[in-house]
Symmetry: C2
Subunit: 214 residues, 2 copies
């Protein structure tokens, strides 16, 4: 029985995604995608007539949706914030561990490969990161409304930075450390809902020390 | 007058660094480096007989030192923590703005290009990130000793994630948001020096709401 048409299309996107997660745009050359997808090169141009940009954009769209789902499923529900945030970071850690920390967020790898002429793709990446931040913000319901959008963006920044650090370290500890850092940040937000902390204890602690030293 | 020998060597490293900051390992092909350095290809092999790995390692070493200096100069001194942390993130923002946010941390771009066979380079990147975290920790003197190493690593994770987000957004706002997040995290640390927060106000705020709803 011939492989259904949609099968090949999805295989191309899946192969592109694997290569993107490994090494960004430069790793996802059309020849590499064809080889990994075990599909004829001619059909690549059939499904993606506009070439690499179309293939990468569609692959990132699949990834955008998958991560949206992962964020929602991790952060939703009635568990404590600590439980939900750790669930999110642990889920990323588990996925990275499957490839011995040799793959990471496909948007992150693409962003750090962008050339000035890749403007369209940059906008795709910008809007995907913004969407993830909004999905996260939606589920951070114990944080003050005025700070949730901000907290969603900080969560995404920490996730991207921690995936990078986890790839360098080849283990998940940067992800766990980032989860803990986010929770402490969230706690500080909950205590100072309207913006800057009033106390700024790190600074006041220091001036206490100075006073004591006098 | 002939260009002194050290000049060509440094020009190769400078060119490699520019290309690494733009697109990681894949962007720093030897031909591209030679073109950007305006130096004869033969002399590249003269200075870097071991080829690309040697060139990239030496370029990253220059970068490691430069960032060490940047971290120290931003975070040292008697200014308040807020002033010093913003100085750090602003300095990165200014540098990124010089290339319209088309270049970012050379270690970050290399890490997200690593293939499983690039083990040596991965270790270089891991130890550079760890060194930056230690240099930062050294200057975070108002934080409790037991948490400083941790805070240094969180600062580096936020810097890497925020540079990635700033490239996607093509502006510096993710860096400023990350600076503020780090300060709130630092404040929470200063209030809970021995580990987990006792209060966990984000959670208790929520259970307060639940109690009220009953």
């Amino acid at each position: 029985m011939p492989i259904p048409a949609t099968g090949a299309r999805d295989r191309f996107k899946g192969a592109a995604l694997t290569l993107l997660r490994q090494g960004g745009l430069s790793a996802a050359g059309l020849n590499e995608v064809v080889t990994l997808a075990h599909a004829p090169k001619g059909s690549l141009y059939h499904y993606f007539p506009a070439g690499k940009l179309q293939l990468v954009s569609e692959a990132l769209d699949v990834y955008r949706e998958a991560v949206n789902k992962r964020i929602s499923e991790s952060l939703k529900g009635r568990d404590r914030l600590r439980v939900r945030v750790y669930r999110m970071f642990r889920s990323v850690e588990r996925q990275m561990a499957e490839t011995s920390f040799s793959q990471s967020c496909a948007v992150g790898t693409v962003v750090l490969d962008l050339r000035p002429e890749d403007g369209d793709l940059r906008q795709v990446c910008e809007s995907v990161l913004a969407e993830w931040a909004m999905v996260a913000a939606h589920h951070l319901h114990e944080l003050p409304d005025a700070r949730r959008a901000n907290a969603g963006r900080v969560l995404v920044t920490l996730l991207e930075g921690a995936q990078l650090a986890a790839r360098a370290a080849r283990n998940g500890s940067p992800l766990r450390e980032a989860a803990e850092a986010f929770l402490m940040y969230a706690d500080a937000i909950a205590q100072a809902p309207n913006g800057r902390l009033q106390t700024n204890s790190a600074d006041s602690r220091r001036s206490d020390q100075r006073t004591r030293q006098r």
